[in-house]
Amino acid sequence: MARNYYGNGFCTAGTNKSALELLTTAAVRPKIYEVMVGCSAAPASQAALWQVQRHTATGTGTALTAVKVDPADPAALVTCKTNNSVEPTVTAADVPWELALNQQATFDWHANPGKEIVLAASATAGATLKTSTSTGTAVHQGSMYWEE
């Protein structure tokens, strides 16, 4: 039976700035089914292009513990990082989700069951939620829910 987890990260918006990076293992194919992004900074009219992009090598960031949706579940196999100082090596053009968003707006996207973003079962693979480009430098928050 699938188990559900989530991670909440943040980043300073800019060119290729990861808010939340998921690193899989060879034991599981995580399925991302919900993505949320918002900004807690003072309202300003700036825009950013948000992407979920697959990567083949992890970056350097602050380790984050994935939260269990069901407290009775074991710890997540996926590991998370946030606010990366070194970005992961992404796969060009492999962007399963993207949305341009004004800083004053928030979005919540979720996939129907069976239509999730599936990540490969590999120790080097994963996906990152990041700003691909941004006109501002405000701190944004991003969350992803996944099952494994």
Binding site: R29, P96, A105, K115, V118
Partner: protein, 81 residues
């Protein structure tokens, strides 16, 4: 057509809701915008929508791509060990 995902954007100007569809060949979700002029596709073998990208025109199901990636990783790991 049933949607594959759902999007809600809230802003000072109001709330926008939209359906998303998923490409059966690359796993990408895209927002459905009737009248946008963007050409999407339909794979008769997979019986699902495609995103319209040139690389997704030929039928290689996403599951098959995942399997190939994982097999390549296992092979590389066995060589390096």
């Amino acid at each position: 057509m049933l949607n594959d995902g759902y999007l809600i954007i809230t802003s000072p100007d109001g709330t926008l809701e939209a359906d998303t569809l998923q490409c059966v060949h690359c796993n990408k979700h895209y927002i459905v915008k009737p009248g946008s002029g963007k050409r999407r596709g339909w794979c008769t073998l997979c019986a699902g929508t495609t995103c319209g990208s040139y690389t997704c025109n030929s039928c290689i199901p996403f599951e098959k791509k995942l399997d190939a990636f994982e097999q390549r990783e296992r092979l590389l790991n066995s060589i390096l060990q």
